[in-house]
Amino acid sequence: MMLNPSLPKPGAPSLGMSSAHYARRKITNVIMLTLTGAATVLAIVPLIWITAYVTIQGSRFLNIEFFTQLPTPVGVPGGGVINAIVGTGIVVGVACLIAIPIAIVGAFYAADHPNTPLGLAIRFGTDVLSGIPSIVMGIFAYTIIVLPQKRFSAFSAGVALAIIMLPLILRTTEEMLKLVPRNLREGSLALGASNWRTSVQVLLPAALNGVVTGIMLAIARAAGEAAPMLFTAFGSTGLVTDLNESTATLPHTIYIYAMSPFKDWQEKAWAAALVLIALVLGLNILARALTWWRARQMGLNY
């Protein structure tokens, strides 16, 4: 503790501190700084590595045909994965339609009644749900939809992904709603608005940026799931738009192509992986741009 307001001379031991102690403190500081820096670099390396590697590997085999053509049999050159791109879009779309409304309404309840039995149950349930491996969601959707209907379908895949997305969206929305200043809520209630109107017209718009980010992260997670697709969407070589038909999806296509012994399929797996990453990244950037623009319009720059 420095009692003297003048600065200590560099390297000089200060009040009540031996020079050995001082040296040890400086060394500890340097070591810890190095360790934290190294850990940070280590954390970023896989991200850059994966992105760069997939880009390099995948871009070699990317062309217009890849986005517009159906797959070709092994050995036949050309062809694309339009069926998987469309399939992923449909399956994720179904999942969003199911998960987003339920998650947001549930989040309103959980944020509004945090200490009621149901509020606690929602929070505990979603925490457990988000820890369940995605393959279990696939088996679940298989059991309740595929088996009774006796067919694999895009719809069943959408249900499996919805269960994966639900806890992610619910918890982020709940946290974002809790961050909305209490006086905004009171302002609305003081005007004679019901709780429901207040939630929809004041709290949700104020929390929208965070909610959209949560939805995007959930979509990114769901769009990349291959395991549940094995039991639900199953895969298809044709372009399918019927929810009751089995359909190809990007992660599933990557899985099949990458596991195959054929070189041209393996190349297509790299290209499909790049498409998947770009799709998810693109969605994220788009959502960020939209919410940023909206926030600026509303003068809401947090």
């Binding site: 006086n183 009171e186 005007l191 004679g192 004041v202 718009p205 809401l300």
Partner: protein, 283 residues
């Protein structure tokens, strides 16, 4: 302020009081709200103890007192805002035109439509200026031309129209603090409440903005019953017809010490406690 004597300080209030709104007693006006033996509990802690007061119609009633004595808590029981905090309890009654707002079959949403509130910190919604004011009327199903008229009239009544008429579709958050607070007043009067509660509406504002809000309150009292909680005794002296002085009892519960015409309370308080407070001996 260090050297002002008691008589100088009283003189200050007398100057603030003179040449202001009429200071007639409440004898000739009807009571809009009545508070009877009101207790308010946070859990087991009694924050308000046995408050009884009548709030006259179309007058400004000020509540003053030191920090933490329960002024805001009391004000928030008048439109059941206290309900929003979990684990609270009310005993006694608060009536609006004779109807107890804490009755079991009273709809709290309807009560809040009749008793509006302006908060300590301006809290415009993150929406446009127009949408902020239109929020309340829209809840009542007003739209189209009628809605535009209500928005314009409310902004005029809140003395904000001339400053914002060319930018109604910009965000309410882009306004200055004083303008935001007047926007909140406009938003409140757009639903034509009968009573307006103001919880230290000027505490986050500069003196000029404070002056404008005070002018506005004096205008509004022709049509509305106003209850204002304020830290600022001069403000209470300047704007109110009646003043209530609150203090904490030994159990730290807020009690009403003295309530009467503002002139009388500031120049000739009946209680020693009130006199000590307004002459600055404590608080």
């Amino acid at each position: 302020m260090l050297e002002t004597t008691q008589s100088e300080r009283l003189g200050m209030f007398t100057r603030a009081l003179s040449g202001n709104i009429p200071q007639e007693t409440s004898a000739d006006t009807k009571n809009k709200m009545r508070v009877q033996n009101l207790d308010f509990y946070y859990g087991t802690f009694r924050a308000i103890a046995d408050v009884t007061m009548d709030i006259p119609e179309k007058r400004i009633t000020a509540i003053i007192g030191s920090s933490g004595c329960g002024k805001s808590t009391l004000l928030r029981t008048f439109n059941r805002m206290g309900d929003l905090v979990g684990n609270t309890r009310v005993r006694g009654s608060v009536t609006l035109d004779g109807e107890n707002i804490y009755d079991r079959n009273v709809d709290v949403v309807l009560i809040r439509r009749r008793i509006g509130m302006v908060f300590q910190r301006p809290n415009p919604f993150p929406k446009s200026i127009f949408d902020n004011v239109a929020y309340g009327p829209r809840l009542l199903g007003v739209g189209g031309k009628a809605l535009e008229q209500i928005v314009e009239q409310s902004l005029r009544d809140a003395a904000l129209w001339d400053e914002v008429k060319d930018k109604l579709h910009q965000s309410g958050l882009a306004l200055s603090g004083g303008q935001q607070q007047r926007l909140c007043v406009a938003r409140t009067i757009a639903v034509k409440p009968e009573v307006i509660l103001m919880d230290e509406p000027c505490s986050a504002l500069d003196p000029i903005a404070t002056y404008k809000i005070e002018e506005l309150m004096i205008q509004l009292q022709n049509e509305y019953t106003i209850v204002i909680v304020t830290h600022n005794m001069q403000q209470a002296a300047r704007v109110s017809n009646l003043t209530a002085f609150m203090n904490m009892n030994p159990e730290r519960a807020g009690v009403l010490v003295e309530f009467g015409p503002t002139t009388q309370l500031f120049t000739n308080p009946t209680k020693k406690e009130t006199e000590d407070y307004i002459t600055g001996r404590f608080g």
